[in-house]
Symmetry: C2
């Protein structure tokens, strides 16, 4: 593992190309070794890294304090400074995360299918690593550790490009992981950290599909859109989470109220929080006042269509833009529909195909909603907040995908792999 360091703020064009070539070629070489690396070595690295984080806690917190001291100069919001700030609990949580990834089964080598064909050929469809990942992310230093762990456990080399604001923290974390790698027999360049803030490095690397198999951007929508428009390799991403809760004619309204409140308020700045409530007309007069009271007591502003305003006369009138908005804050849009089909139509039209929930006691309607709402996760009688790698049984995730190709929903170890066919004969030729 290596920290690719270069202290100037900007490179000459030839420097950028040369720097990126070194990164790419090293990552590619490391990926060849990792593809074939024993599970024992990868787990040894994870456990040694966990120990290293705890042993060098003080050093990590000092490096983080330097980042935090610079944060207001860089114009970070208080919320961003909070995400950047480490403390002993947060470092311990990183170490715990590494141990839990060590405990997960190694996805590499799993036989996904196969058998003996009529020709007599033996077919194995085998899970193998993707190769080289390029991970671009913002502020939270723990992401450095999580991403490296998930990538390398699944047999991939990774190039990490974190935000300038967490440079000191990430460098310290990477140094500890690199030391563990040397002890565990992993290739030195399994993880490389881009230390230069030069944005041209990102632009150049996004061109190099010969070295990089997958890019994963994690951050605001503008970062992700830039990556998608420039990248010559596949991108694993989600843009937005405009998640809905639909309260059906046959809902248990007390459960519905708890689910809506949880989905909206349990954590508001995350992609699987609810942004919109859709209510069946036949229960609107009964349900909306219940929900409004519970939501308003938690400081949520309600924006409704004309039929909502008939019941909640003091709600804010919703504009068409509200239906498409991911607030990531204390606002909820609400509309009333006359049928399950109209609810599905609304969600298909305005949603972001991330997570959408139905609350109903009617099994036929629940299954129809689950089949016809084309989202990464459809929730029946539970909160949208459960759309998460841990809750769905993946163990660890590097992000959630709203794409349909390759991986949809939470992306854990298996989602960072591909497969190959191994076909064994005894001199077979095709007639």
């Amino acid at each position: 593992m290596a920290i690719a360091s270069k202290n100037q703020d900007s490179f000459q064009a030839e420097d950028v190309a040369g720097y990126c070539r070194r990164l790419g070629e090293r990552a590619e070489r490391a990926s060849r070794l990792l593809r074939d690396m024993a599970t024992a070595n990868k787990n040894d690295w994870l456990l040694r890294s966990a120990d290293g984080l705890l042993d060098r806690m003080g050093w990590i917190l000092e490096a983080n304090a330097r980042d935090v001291a610079q944060a207001s100069e860089l114009g970070l919001t208080p919320a961003a400074i909070d995400r950047l700030t480490l403390n002993p609990d947060r470092v311990a949580a990183m170490a715990k995360g590494l141990r839990s990834i060590a405990a997960l089964p190694d996805p590499v080598g799993e036989i996904l299918g196969g058998g003996v064909q009529p020709s007599g050929l033996q077919i194995e469809k085998v899970r193998v690593p993707l190769g080289v990942l390029f991970f671009i992310y913002e502020s939270r230093p723990n992401v450095t550790v999580d991403a490296a762990a998930i990538a390398i456990k699944s047999g991939n080399a990774i190039i990490l490009r974190g935000g300038k604001e967490s440079l000191q923290s990430s460098s310290a974390l990477v140094a500890i992981l690199a030391e563990a790698a040397r002890s565990a027999g992993l290739p030195q360049d399994a993880m490389q950290f881009v230390e230069t803030p030069d944005r041209n490095v990102v632009g150049e690397l996004l061109q190099r599909s010969d070295w990089i198999d997958l890019v994963i951007p994690r951050g605001g929508e503008s970062l992700i859109r830039r990556v998608v428009s420039e990248a010559k390799m596949p991108v694993l991403k989600h843009y937005a989470g405009n998640c809905h809760v639909y309260v059906d004619e046959y809902a248990d309204l007390a459960k519905a109220c708890e689910i809506v409140v949880n989905a909206k308020t349990q954590r508001m700045g995350v992609c699987n929080a609810a942004e919109s409530l859709v209510v069946h007309g036949s229960v609107a007069r009964q349900f909306l006042p219940m929900a409004a009271e519970a939501l308003r007591s938690r400081g949520i502003e309600l924006r409704g269509d004309a039929r909502v305003l008939e019941v909640l006369t003091d709600a804010v009138p919703a504009t068409p833009a509200d239906w498409s908005t991911e607030y990531l804050g204390p606002i909820l849009s609400i509309c009333v529909v006359d049928s399950l089909e109209e609810a599905i139509e609304h969600i298909q039209r305005y949603g972001s195909h991330h997570t959408d929930a139905i609350v109903t006691q009617d099994i036929t309607r629940a299954r129809q909603f689950a089949r016809q709402v084309d989202s990464a996760a459809v929730m029946i009688n539970c909160s949208t907040r459960f759309h998460d790698g841990g809750e769905l049984g993946l163990g660890a995730e590097i992000g959630i995908s709203t794409d349909k190709l390759h991986a949809r929903g939470p992306c854990g170890l298996k989602e960072l792999t591909t497969y190959k066919y191994i076909v064994t004969g005894e001199g077979h030729i095709r007639g």
Copy 2:
């Protein structure tokens, strides 16, 4: 199903946008119905289509004859005219293909994983269709029928854009499939055929990731590169098949000779034909004369490196470009290496990660080759020509992918699907 017809050779810009909007919106609506369509209806459509092709054989052959009559005007090569030409056997083969797709299991609704989580939530990971496919292909009219069948059986709507040269044939075939669709209760726009030769239609559709989930180009490398550079949605593709056969120190040389001859000569214009032979130095003096005799008797030109020329003194000297060339014709490049590792290195460097074979009796070396050669299919002691959906047990394929994301190798019904999570609780909220 609809034939989108427009007889002018070129549209105004607003015509292109409007025409594409109609195509896209119809496909999107059809895909919603197909996502939830019963297997019985889809199979009924396939069987009625097969009957229709046989019943209207004469009409199909007349339409095809009009295409063939125009083919030399369009400057088609004799090989392309052969691919374009239908006869009763070829039409019967299409009908047989449809029946075999009807006999395959429906991939939609398969439970890929899940279970009950510690939270008590029930998780189902369910296979679902991708949505709308855009298929762009050249000359062979049977591809129209195959692609529509595979797309619709897997629950997707498809927009087909065939070559100008097969317009009459494809229109006749689509009309028959459309009639069967009406009888079988499939949505009218499940399959739409782009009849205009205006290339701007392709350009416009490639921008519309809001309607189209996946584009599949099948044809020459320049077509595929154009599609990749313009498309805003994922592309399922392979550029080239520069496939290798490596004859190891421990090979059974008689088997090796048969495999090389089969891989090179059984069908030369296809992506899984061998283009390059790599021979271990310790068997080169014995093996190369055997292989050369068998290959030359079938008209194959041999191009070798210096060590090959020591043995085959009359071989053509290979240039560096030969190592990267997919000849698709009667030429084979040959080099000699000193180790298994050197063979793997050569294949990784010059190959196209499509199909590469080892011939060896040593199981450890076979497994090392299989692990370390990063190709969609690795063949052990059998011909590269077996890398094919039918031979690998997929039943039918729409193409072979050399990408690593989503689908690698042959793409059949399952490879045209994605999955969603369905999460069922009993009022669960997250704590």
